[in-house]
Amino acid sequence: MTSISEDSDKEKARSVSVDLNNDASLLIDIPDALCERDKVKFTVHTKTTLSPFQKPDFSVPRQHEDFIWLHDAIVETEEYAGLIIPPAPPKPDFEGPREKMHKLGEGESSMTKEEYAKMKQELEAEYLAVFKKTVQVHEVFLQRLSSHPSFSKDRNFHIFLEYDQDLSVRRKNAKEMFGGFFKNMVKTADEVLISGVKEVDEFFEQEKIFLLDYSNKIKDSTAKAEKMTRSHKNVADDYNHISGALNSVAADNNSAFKKHLEKCVEVFEKLRKVEDRVASDQELKLTELLRYYTRDIQAAKDLLYRRARALADYENSNKALDKARLKGKDVPQAEENQKQCLQKFDRLSESGKKELTSFKARRVVAFRKNLIEMTELEIKHAKNSMSTLQGSIELLKSN
């Protein structure tokens, strides 16, 4: 990674984020990853010109849990309360390929050698796809942090990038400290946002309404997109079985339409590959896009929530101050408390506004990019299928 153009090329391969990783002072990528049984070991590679780092170019191995630690650490950091915190990458999910592998093992006896080999190939491809996806999503997380003016300076982030020993010790401590505490709070965020405090700022009122609604809808769309993609994969699988069965018929057949059968086998093979690509491209461009923004919207909601909490705190401090004035006790503390709460609230409001505005822009750009790419790929694949089919039809008709 030595030039920005190279990076923007790499960006094209990214599915959900744009404009990351083009600040030469801190460049991060995940050049490879190892999969051992259940665990994935990512190699996080950093290239930097910034001074706090000891070396300009270094790599460390990290596990998924390390990423989660980093995310939680950032979330818990008070000073980032006014920022949208990049959503944590989801756990690598090899359930699909694993299931298939199981099925393959079971069905081995009932399949022909060719079928078995084909299914194995398929399985490997699927495995690879899941692998690529998880690497990408972890990479994007780090790159969002590195490209953000505040997060890129975060100490925990630097530790994550640099600390060349196992992070698990630090992780354990952190877990005990934070231990799902914030997660519990977040669960009720929606309720706080909806019910709670009266909103004075028009901008935030709008945002609240919008984000709540959008969050539900995009969650729904993500789920539906996943179902649709899975159906596409099933169809591709069926093409595979059909070509296998056709192959058996063709092999056994000596009649005049043997050639037709064999051609059909070829066609189904090719179509299967195309359908597979269609399904995985759709997954990458559409489903992943929706998934990512579901998480991102959640992060934006979290920001609103934190601000709402701050507002609640401020109002409570006001009440406390009034009570203190009434009682005549602890007034200076109450005043100090109230001042701090107000400051915090203002700070959150200010940065929150900025973050949410840039979030809008980011979202629109990402959707545009992905929808265009998906459409172009769909067209490409369909044209591919068409030419395969046309060729075969002509061949068969000319016989």
């Binding site: 809008k360 629109v364 369909a382």
Partner: protein, 524 residues
């Protein structure tokens, strides 16, 4: 119209009929033509004829049915076969293109809907496309005959559990053995089954491959009877209508069957006596089941001493192929189901995206998302149509052939039975001869005459059975060859048609996405 719609429902309740008629009772769909329109969703066919002097019109809905049948045989086949298109077999086993013609347009009337939008217009020879029935008839010289059959207009007769579905069977022919050139009758499902039963039992057709009738379906029919007007019952009716049509087309494509008086009666006669032997729980039905069981046992014990291996190896081939086709059919069936699932999921997704678009605050993105929802909606329709093609072009073909191969096996079994009968007669003859010898030795002249009569009787039986066996052997051989040719032709045609349907779908897909691309690019 020669067809009659005035069939009276059986007296209610009629227990015997009730149990057995289950499969034949059907409730109507509101529109006459609903069965044909389900999957295409578009009414692009000419309306069905309603009045009598419609000789040309009877087939107007199948107009394109003829067209495509014509163009199909001209594509990829030699030019001399083009003439054969209208040749009719007047004598038994001449292989003519009636076979290809008889088995036209598996999709039936809906084909016309497909054809008007179909990409393969490029392969239609324009001159042929524009021919009408009359022109086709004029083209024929005296020696060429044709016969076209269509099964259409499923109509509910009666109400409730005693209701049944009546189908219009239209024939158009130039064969002299028929009274008219075009005629229609109405038949119900049990009539078709009855026809099959009659043909299977005939000696004259021994050794012939009798096309099996479509299967009964208690589940399917009950749903339709109960009056559920949902898509699954409409689907069932359409599936059955198409199956009945293919069945008849195969029957008339067979030169010997066409000559059969029962077949002709089926096509021509206004009212057919109810075929009660087709009821599962009737006396004859049970008898049949028992016979079938005992046949299965016998099959395993007979072995014919053959001069050549042809029959044994052919039977093996047939059995293998049946297994393989079964497997292929299962795979295609799975495809049909998954594609239907994809349909549903796409539709659901489309709605969800529309909702998302309505909430989106950026107006250009909002518009693009609505457009995406529309694209996905169109996708759903495409998937729907493709599932339809998957089913009717591929799955049904395979299902039909699995059962046809079963019918082929039946012929072989029939030949076995004839052989067995011959063997038994020879054994009996031998015994009679031994008995005679014993009598001679025991010197009982009064019984001798009886013994001599017995021997004569059995000698003639043996020679009769020998001739039968010869005949059956010859028939089976010819039938198998004819069948294989037909199968090859059928498969070739369907494979091409299926690939064309896939091509068509992909073509439309491209168009949809290309229309969406500018919308996506317009997001700002």
């Amino acid at each position: 119209m020669s067809g009659s719609c005035g069939r009276n429902p059986p007296p209610f309740p009629d227990n015997e009929d009730l149990e057995a008629e289950i499969d034949a009772r059907v409730l109507d769909s509101d529109e006459e033509d609903e069965g044909e329109d389900i999957f295409t969703g578009a009414r692009s066919k000419p309306t069905t004829p309603t009045s009598a002097p419609d000789e040309g019109d009877i087939f107007s809905e199948e107009g394109s049915y003829i067209r495509s049948d014509v163009h199909h045989t001209t594509n990829g086949l030699h030019s001399d076969e083009e003439l054969d298109l209208f040749t009719e077999a007047t004598v038994e086993l001449t292989l003519t293109n009636t076979t290809s013609q008889g088995r036209r347009e598996i999709i039936g009337p809906t084909a016309s809907a497909c054809n008007t939008t179909h990409v393969p217009n490029s392969i239609l020879k324009p001159s042929i496309v524009t021919k009408t029935m009359e022109e086709l008839e004029e083209e024929e010289s005296g020696d060429q005959f044709e016969l076209n059959i269509a099964v259409t207009n499923p109509e509910k007769i009666g109400d409730g559990m005693t209701a049944y579905m009546s189908y219009k069977v239209s024939t158009q022919t130039t064969l002299p053995m028929f009274a008219n050139k075009t005629f229609t009758v109405r038949r119900r499902f049990s009539d078709f089954l009855g026809l099959y039963e009659k043909m299977s039992a005939k000696n004259s057709l021994m050794g012939c491959i009798i096309p099996p009738a479509p299967q009964k379906s208690v589940v399917g029919m009950t749903k339709v009877k109960v009056g559920k007007e949902d898509s699954s019952s409409a689907e069932f009716v359409e599936k059955r209508r198409a199956a009945l049509e293919r069945y008849l087309q195969r029957v008339v494509a067979h030169p010997s069957l066409l000559q059969d008086p029962d077949v002709r009666e089926f096509l021509e006669r206004d009212e057919l006596p109810r075929a009660v032997n087709t009821q599962t729980l009737s006396g004859p039905g049970l008898l049949k089941m028992i016979n079938r069981a005992s046949d299965a046992v016998n099959k395993m014990t007979i072995k014919i001493n053959e001069s050549d291996n042809w029959f044994e190896s052919k039977l093996q081939e047939v059995e293998n192929e049946e297994q393989l086709l079964r497997r292929l059919h299962a795979a295609v069936d799975s495809l049909v189901n998954h594609r239907k699932e994809l349909c549903i999921n796409t539709a659901v997704f489309s709605k969800s995206v529309a909702m998302l678009g309505s909430v989106e605050e950026n107006s250009a993105l909002s518009r693009a998302l609505s457009q995406l929802a529309e694209v996905e909606d169109k996708m759903e329709q495409l998937h729907q149509q493709q599932a339809f093609s998957d089913f009717f072009i591929l799955a049904e073909l395979l299902a039909d052939y699995v059962r046809l191969l079963g019918a082929v096996r039946c012929c072989f079994e029939q030949r076995m039975k004839v052989w067995q009968r011959l063997q038994e007669a020879q054994i009996t003859l031998q015994k009679k001869r031994e008995a005679e010898a014993k009598l001679l030795w025991a010197n009982k002249p009064e019984k001798l005459q009886q013994a001599k009569d017995d021997i004569n009787e059995w000698e003639s039986k043996v020679s009769q059975y020998e001739r039968d066996f010869e005949r059956v052997t010859c028939t089976v051989r010819k039938e198998v060859l004819r069948f294989e040719k037909e199968k090859a032709r059928d498969f070739k045609q369907h494979i091409v048609k299926y690939l064309e349907s896939l091509l068509h779908t992909q073509h439309r897909l491209v168009k949809c996405w290309e229309a969406f691309l500018p919308e996506a690019k317009a997001i700002a």
